[in-house]
Symmetry: C2
Subunit: 301 residues, 2 copies
């Protein structure tokens, strides 16, 4: 159960639409009001009946207990500027941003001024699709939500937001924003940048045709294209807002890649074999923890 009876959602993409669909399944009595800056998105969300839609952000947050900011990380600041005079004292505000330090910096002071209670959170769930049509009720099932309270975070509000994400089917974990940003740089941001890079390299090749790339992609490349089909604006904002952690992880990545490149050049088969042998155990752990399917090729073929 969640105590929130009226929830405002700002930004109507994949996460927002999944929250709507999941909440509707779990407790249809909860009132959800949605707002998006983009008129077309509002229209679409209204047509598919996602939730109540307001074309005015002030009205959207009127009288609600919880505001969830589901906009790209780079939009958090503009949104809170528009919103801060309309937050009613005591309202709990949370966000779903993939970067926490920069978002906290932009949101915490303003929500405090407005006497709102800000709880930084990050539900780790998503697909390569985006927009109000991309959501589905089961997106959060069994996935993890990380909460990153600061010294200023209201303890009771933290608990309420934690219970909210659990109500949606998530497991929760509390850590510092600094540590969150490093962990996500490794498990999410660096893999995305690398996938974008690999797809970009292929897109640029003159010696291999597009139809060859497409036809023979089942040999590994197609997996990279799924990740590299993710929302460009969302990812631009993530990379602009977690610079230190990204540069640290990418530095290590190139160091390792060079060591493997050197082994290829020197025909050092033992080095390659040792490297390739130790990576299977991590896969096993992920499957055992229920964070991926163990069926070959993700069961897609």
């Amino acid at each position: 159960m969640t105590e929130f009876r009226k929830i405002a959602i700002i930004g109507l993409g994949l996460i927002a639409s999944s929250i709507c669909l999941s909440l509707r399944q779990k407790d249809p009595a909860i009132q959800i009001v949605g707002y998006d800056n983009d008129k077309e998105v509002r229209k679409r969300a209204k047509r598919i009946g996602l939730c109540e839609i307001e074309s005015n952000i002030e009205k959207a947050v009127n009288d609600c207990n919880l505001i969830i900011l589901c906009v790209p990380v780079g939009q958090m600041y503009p949104v809170i500027q528009k919103l801060k005079n309309f937050i009613e004292p005591g309202t709990i505000i949370t966000d779903v941003g993939s970067v926490k330090l920069s978002v906290i910096k932009e949101l915490e002071a303003h929500t405090e001024d407005a006497k709102g209670k800000f709880v930084p959170s990050h539900p780790i769930a998503g697909t390569e699709k985006s927009g109000p049509d991309a959501g589905y009720a089961g997106l959060f099932d069994g996935r993890w939500c990380i909460l990153t309270p600061t010294k200023k975070t209201n303890k009771k509000a933290l608990k309420s937001v934690e219970i909210f994400w659990r109500f949606l089917g998530m497991q929760t974990k509390i850590m510092t924003p600094e540590h969150h940003d490093l962990v996500l740089a490794v498990t999410s941001h660096a893999p995305h940048l690398i996938a974008y890079t690999m797809v970009g390299v292929v897109d640029d090749l003159e010696t291999v045709t597009k139809s060859e790339i497409i036809n023979y992609s089942a040999a590994g490349f197609r997996d990279f294209t799924r990740i590299a089909a993710s929302d460009p604006v969302m990812w631009r904002d993530i990379f602009l807002n977690n610079q230190d952690a990204h540069l640290e992880v990418l530095g290590r990545f190139t160091e390792e890649l060079f060591s493997l490149q050197r082994a290829i050049r020197k025909k050092d088969g033992d080095y390659l074999l040792r490297y390739f042998e130790r990576t299977r155990s991590i896969r096993k752990g992920i499957v055992a923890a229920g964070q991926d399917t163990g069926i070959p090729n993700f069961g897609r073929d």
Copy 2:
């Protein structure tokens, strides 16, 4: 239909077992005899009834019309050394190696000496699993098989092998071995090396725990672990045998990665956005060509 009535398969891993299961579905009258260097693998293949199993390579190829070499690329030379005195004149030999130039160099002269007819081929299909239990009948359905004849390749034998792979449900394409090795470096080998590298980087981190990696892997990283769970010996051999193409593609990859790293450092959001926007179209092409599912997250969640 295929003209081959008795087929010998050397090396009983994922591809070999999938050939057996697929052939059995399509024409149970075809006789299949399997051999593997590893006694345990032979035992396992026999227990699961994959095909007739011979513990002697000479007997395995006795009186057959087609020999398919399904060993890692690095084993092609030792296998042909063991085999060459037992190949009957006129027998067609093909292989399934992911690298063609080096395999042709090792196999063509020897099969010629034995008056066998060698047709280099590469069925592009697989999963992250390996061994005789990993195969399934549908592995080849709709996938592509590349044939890379040389000036010495017998035209009739080429046609027969092409028909064979089509019989298993594949589409076929003929190209030069040089071009094949470049195309595969891009669509398969480089993505695998990059995935192995990323998983290795994570495995080495001291600041992030293994359980954190595992729990939060759904954000992108888990996709890399699937690829990096592929057979280590097979991949070592691929990297040792397609050096020039790999170093070329990896050179381009690091160049691109550095350009994105620089954009992150300089906070050049426009560069990042432009880069991330152009990669979606390749994904669309792959899904439209039936080479991947369009369902979010490969439909696995």
